[in-house]
């Protein structure tokens, strides 16, 4: 009995020692990234795409930068802000992460912001798209997009291309309101007219009555913003009601035509014109390689969420390279400001003043390429900053 206890004690002590020494090694040579994304729940596809892209990037570029080993700790917040906050705190306090990243929805990015400020840990936002996020903490950097970027551009484009009367159909929640406001500002300032404005409840099973209203308003085009998951359902009913044949075009920010879902929507989506930051059909070598590698690894097409994650991890790698491996928050943020590189979506940079992303916005039309539906880009608006901030 005595002997047994003794060995147990010894093992425990040895274990402790080992643990401690392992920790010491880690603290010096490892840079830890806490990746908080929704892996379950309604937003799970966002989290999965980001996780996939980050893994792909690390496979391609190795897991050491400037002599540091990169370790990613993945946490699932199911897009619930309370979880995000708790997980961010655990990661910062217990796991001593150097960077937190991910954030599938706006409230999640908000929830982690005060922690980033307090702990001086950079928060790399890879998905959430509301304009004010980067103002919530001086340690927030964004590699996704803002809704304003795409919505203002489609407003400008519509005016220039002879669309005079537009009916709007947007989901009744914060990003929907954002999209509508930015579009309306630019479209009406250019002389366009909004003939009908409908806000659809977020949990809306059937678009039929709203679409009938759109049809009866007889606009030149309808501006649509619904959460990515509902886009397919919407386009099907749009075609079923014969709106495509009555000449009412669909325009909007590109979320509706996410590459993730586009091919499942069927031919009814053909011809929809959207403004967005990324299309899997973007004709650059960088993107072709990215799409091919992503398809090979995960057997599906990358969407804009995957690109946000891919660029986010790249930004972290590049910043570490620039600081020579120094991983404290202030050095990293300083290194990230003004960083510019070529992403699969095209040339992008981090605005040194706002820490928000500056990127091209493309006007695309849904077309059939090799039997699959793609958003084919045909016009480019260069270096678009977030209009939510340039206004000030």
């Amino acid at each position: 009995m005595f002997i047994r206890r003794n060995t147990l004690l010894q093992t425990a002590a040895a274990g402790l020692l080992l643990g401690a020494s392992a920790f010491a090694v880690q603290a010096q040579d490892t840079v830890k990234i806490g990746l908080i994304v929704p892996m379950t729940g309604g937003q799970a596809s966002t989290g999965k795409q980001i996780d996939n892209a980050v893994k792909l990037y690390m496979q391609q570029h190795g897991d050491t930068v400037a002599g540091k080993k990169i370790e990613v700790i993945l946490k699932d917040d199911a897009a619930v802000p309370d979880n995000t906050k708790r997980l961010a705190q655990e990661l910062i306090v217990n796991d001593k992460v150097n960077i937190i990243a991910g954030f599938g929805v706006t409230p999640a990015a908000f929830a982690a912001a005060p922690l980033a400020t307090q702990a001086k840990v950079p928060e790399v936002v890879m998905a959430a798209g509301t304009s004010v996020i980067t103002e919530k903490s001086p340690y927030i950097v964004r590699t996704s997009f803002t809704l304003g970027q795409s919505s203002t551009i489609i407003g400008d484009w519509a005016v220039k291309n002879g669309i005079k009367k537009v009916a709007t159909l947007t989901s009744d929640y914060a990003p929907g309101h954002d999209a509508l406001k930015f579009f309306k500002d630019h479209f009406t300032a250019g002389g366009g007219q909004i003939v009908e404005e409908v806000k659809v409840p977020l949990a809306n099973p059937d678009f039929a009555p709203f679409l009938q209203r759109m049809k009866d308003a007889k606009p030149d085009a309808m501006f649509v913003f619904v959460p990515a998951g509902q886009g397919g359902n919407f386009m099907k009913q749009y075609a079923e009601r014969g709106l495509d044949k009555s000449g009412i075009k669909v325009i909007g920010p590109g979320d509706v035509m996410d590459d993730d879902l586009l091919n499942g929507m069927g031919d009814s989506a053909l011809g929809a014109v959207t403004a967005h930051i990324y299309s899997a059909a973007h004709p650059s070598q960088v993107n072709k390689d990215f799409v091919a590698a992503y398809k090979k690894a995960y057997n599906q097409r990358p969407g804009f969420m995957a690109v946000g994650g891919y660029d986010g991890i790249h930004l972290i790698y590049a910043a570490l390279q620039k600081t020579g491996g120094k991983a404290d928050g202030d050095s990293l943020i300083a290194a990230m400001k003004g960083m510019a590189w070529e992403s699969p979506r095209g040339p992008i940079s981090i605005d040194p003043e706002t820490r928000d992303i500056v990127q091209n916005v493309y006007i695309r039309k849904v077309e059939k390429v090799d039997g699959e539906l793609y958003n084919v880009e045909f016009e480019t608006f260069k270096d678009v900053k977030d209009p939510g901030k340039t206004k000030k």
Binding site: G42, P205, F210, Q212, G229, K236, D260
Partner: protein, 289 residues
């Protein structure tokens, strides 16, 4: 005028769909006195089975529909025999907790197996689009829903009222002891009824995927609609939920068309008004026990 008719048509189609989805719940809740909140899970199962058959295995849509019914009914009978059977005599609270647990499990399982994004069933071309009858836009798919659901309703009503099985079922519900004393195999009657209700839900899920969208959260999103139909219609008859579904479907579609700002509330307002006026539902009788 033509717009009004189109709205009416859409409303009827939506109501019919609600009816097929909820009629199974009306049967288990009303006839068997079992609170089955997991009803939507069977609908989801039917939807996914139909989607996999059509999209992956290339089974024609009209063959996949009855298969979705049969598969959901089989799942129903297995669940009834292994799990539900033991809860018939428990308190409603136990039943609610048990079935809501099942819902969460179903959501997770489907999320794991099929992914969390919405899926669509590839429809045959003949069901897509609209045609005009005297200027009234009629969606082909919605017309098909009305036809199928109308026939089903008639079938259910006739079965319950006129067949031997119907009278056995009613007897088994009214007084299980006396019924089994008369030689009616009560557990078997319940099992068949439960399976049929689950099958209907599965068929509803397969039909509804096109209009309501299909994702792993389906049972949670639509649970409230099923419950509204059953509470408003009263759960003792089949005609009650049927008329309630039609009323709610039309009110919902018309409300969203004419007052889009209030759209989502119309269905709840209708429910509240009806329940204040008739607390037992439109056709509910005062509880007899």
């Amino acid at each position: 005028m033509t717009t009004l008719l189109t709205i009416l048509f859409d409303g009827v189609a939506y109501g019919m769909l609600l009816f097929v989805l909820s009629s199974g719940l009306a049967v288990t809740l009303g006839l068997m006195n079992f609170v089955n909140l997991a009803h939507g899970a069977f609908a989801m199962a039917g939807g996914y089975i139909c989607a996999v058959l059509v999209n992956k295995s290339g089974v024609p849509f009209f063959v996949a529909l009855p298969m979705a019914f049969i598969a959901s009914a089989l799942i129903g009978i297995v669940m009834e025999q292994t799990l539900y059977k033991h809860l018939y005599h428990r308190s409603p609270l136990d039943q609610v907790l048990f079935t809501i647990g099942l819902v969460f499990m179903a959501v997770t399982v489907v999320d794991y197996m099929m992914g969390s994004s919405q899926i669509f069933i590839h429809l045959p071309a003949m069901l897509e689009g609209q045609f005009n009858i005297f200027g009234v836009g009629v969606g082909r798919y919605r017309l098909m829903i009305i036809v199928i659901c109308g026939l089903l309703t008639l079938g259910i009503q006739l079965t319950l009222a006129n067949t031997r099985f119907g009278s056995r079922l009613r007897a088994a519900v009214d007084d299980p002891r006396a019924a089994s004393g008369l030689g009616i195999n009560v557990p078997q009657v319940f099992a068949l009824t439960f399976a049929f209700g689950s099958g209907l839900a599965g068929l509803g899920g397969a039909l509804g995927a096109e209009i309501l969208g299909l994702d792993p959260y389906f049972p949670l999103k639509f649970m409230i609609y099923f419950l509204i139909v059953v509470t408003v219609g009263g759960s003792q008859t089949i005609t009650g939920p049927f008329l309630a579904s039609l009323l709610l479907g039309i009110a919902d579609v018309a409300g969203k068309y004419y007052v889009p700002k209030l759209g989502a509330f119309v269905i709840y307002t209708v429910m509240i008004v009806i329940l204040i006026w008739r607390p037992n539902g439109l056709f509910g009788r005062v509880a007899q026990r």
